[in-house]
């Protein structure tokens, strides 16, 4: 599946590059504001070719701007000999017909069809994928393979929270949890799950291929994931669903449970077994978490530095949570990459957590420290309500402050945080 995706991306890039000479001095339009069109838009940008607009049949999208380009309905397209439209997959023939009916010449319509593997290639790939399934089946024998394909920290936390209930509800006798991430494994171990194995991403893809083609019911495998991610994303847009949180959606759609009856809390190491950093001062230490890998909308470093300066004037010791080399330590702070099993007791001791909304917020939700969580700017009001820890019912809401980030209000947000810190 990963291979298929890259094959598709490279086909779009190649087609755009092959046509660069005719596109350079023309009015270039893309059909449909979608992920595949985005690839074409980026390739055009790399080649310094300006996109005049994006055509879309969705009335709600028309009039808005997508990747810096206006979205227009098909009837607003000004057809001339210099107008070219690129279609990347998704009911190509209907779109082409629609453009032809608007008077466009067929030669001015560039179509990129999804890379088609031959039937023999698909069968051969399936046999290879089946061999992976067969190997794992032999290894785990009667154990049901419960596969966690999403490597997000928050998803892993919620999986651990409900996995025991899921096992009981589905009458599963023996099982193994399979993930492709060591971090997910560590989070699941906080819940006492001992049979967790890490497999490669390639093997995970192959297992998914077998399940997609054969069906879970015929195999001793279950994929714990949302049925169709876009369905889940669309459902949260419906007005009537405003009370549904990420936790409820996960519990219902992934785990098939209706209440918190079988929910568990993770167990952390006792504080006396942890070698505490000597700089930490009880109740006067702040952990900053300025990075989130799923919601990659960063708040500028200067803002964090200003916050650190204020905290220092109030004699706080400040740490920055960094989990990889790409996440730099905020100036004036001490870098920290505390283990998951130590996070909550250390934070209880520190006293404060200030961070952007990420999966880490779920992990530390049970801490008794004061928490200030910033929801990134791109989150709509609905999305913020959906991911709100308060709405999810995680942790003590009296010690939790949730703030919606807005670039133009960053000074005010800083002042609000100052007021919250004694």
């Amino acid at each position: 599946m990963v291979d298929d995706y890259f094959r598709w991306v490279s086909k779009i890039q190649r087609t755009v590059a092959d046509n660069k000479n005719i596109l350079r001095n023309s009015d270039v339009y893309l059909f449909g504001a979608s992920d595949s069109t985005k690839v074409a838009a980026l390739e055009l940008k790399n080649l310094n070719i300006r996109v005049s607009g994006v055509i879309d049949n969705n009335k709600n999208k028309c009039g808005t701007v997508w990747m810096g380009t206006p979205i227009i309905p098909p009837k607003s397209l000004k057809v001339s000999n210099h107008t070219f439209v690129i279609i990347c997959g998704g009911d190509v023939y209907a779109k082409k017909k629609q453009l032809l009916s608007l008077g466009m010449a067929e030669s001015n319509i560039i179509v990129v069809l999804p890379s088609a593997k031959s039937h023999l290639e698909i069968i051969w790939d399936f046999i290879k994928a089946y061999a992976v399934y067969w190997g794992l089946k032999k290894k785990y024998r009667e154990r049901k393979m419960i596969i966690l394909p999403i490597n997000a920290t928050g998803d892993a936390y919620l999986t651990g929270r409900y996995i025991k209930g899921y096992i009981t509800q589905n009458n599963i006798q023996t099982y193994v949890l399979l993930t492709s991430s060591k971090s997910v494994k560590k989070i699941l171990e906080l819940y006492g799950e001992t049979y967790v194995d890490v497999i490669s991403l390639g093997d995970m893809d192959k297992l998914k291929e077998v399940v997609d083609k054969v069906g879970e019911s015929k195999l001793n495998v279950v994929f714990l994931m949302f049925w169709g991610l876009y369905a889940h994303q669309n459902l949260i847009k419906i007005e009537e669903f405003t009370t549904i949180s990420f936790l409820e959606m996960f519990r219902g759609a992934v785990m098939g449970m209706n209440d918190e009856k079988n929910a568990r809390l993770p167990v952390f190491k006792p504080l006396n077994e942890i070698a505490l950093n000597e700089k930490i001062v009880k109740g006067k230490t702040v952990l900053l978490a300025p990075y989130a890998s799923t919601f990659d909308d960063e708040i500028d470093v200067e803002w964090w530095e200003e916050l650190v300066l204020y905290l220092k004037t109030k004699n706080y010791i400040v740490f920055s949570n960094t989990s990889s080399e790409s996440e730099s330590v905020i100036r004036g702070t001490v870098g920290a990459s505390w283990k998951y099993e130590e996070l909550v007791p250390i934070l209880d001791f520190c006293g404060y957590f200030i961070g952007v909304r990420s999966g880490l917020c779920e992990v530390i939700s049970s801490s008794s420290c004061r928490k200030i969580i910033i929801y990134q700017e791109y989150m709509s009001k609905r999305k913020m309500e959906y991911f709100s820890l308060k709405n999810m019912g995680l942790g003590d809401s009296s010690i939790l402050t949730e703030i919606k980030w807005e670039d133009k209000k960053k000074e005010q947000i800083l002042n609000d945080i100052r007021e919250k810190i004694e």
Partner: protein
């Protein structure tokens, strides 16, 4: 190993059956094919109206509807042939065609169903009680196109 052979055998039959239905019903190549495997009147009704609306505004080419039970579609019979190519397929054949389309990830095939992997009916019913099922169906299956 028996399972592997069984799947490949079903895929072969599905491909063969699809070719037969395609040529007997003069289904043009590259048509969008909508499979209605369920006998759910509400689901099928919303599904078919959604297809009709999108065909009318030019967002779809004439859709092909594969259905085992034509009575589960309440769209007026006299208008059907104008808006769609409706093909009655036996339940057994439909199952094999779905296996074939699924196996080769045929993009032109769409299944109008709320069951896994496209949806989970019991979850929707429990969590979203009171929400019009038409909204759920349009959002889940048709991505509100």
């Amino acid at each position: 190993m028996r399972l592997l052979i069984n799947i490949l055998w079903n895929v072969f039959w599905g491909a063969l059956l699809w070719r037969i239905y395609q040529s007997f019903n003069h289904i043009p190549r590259h048509s969008s094919i909508y499979i209605f495997p369920e006998q759910d009147l509400v689901l099928n009704d919303v599904g078919i109206n959604c297809l009709q609306r999108n065909y009318a505004k030019g967002a779809l080419s004439k859709p092909v509807v594969l259905c085992a039970d034509l009575n589960s579609i309440s769209f007026p019979k006299e208008k059907r042939s104008k808006e769609f190519i409706i093909v009655k397929v036996s339940k057994r054949d439909l199952k094999k065609i779905i296996i074939y389309a699924n196996f080769f990830a045929k993009m032109e095939f769409h299944t109008v169903s709320l069951d896994k992997p496209d949806g989970n009916r019991s979850f929707l019913a429990n969590q979203f009680a009171g929400v019009p099922s038409t909204d759920i169906i349009e959002y889940c299956i048709f991505n509100k196109i």
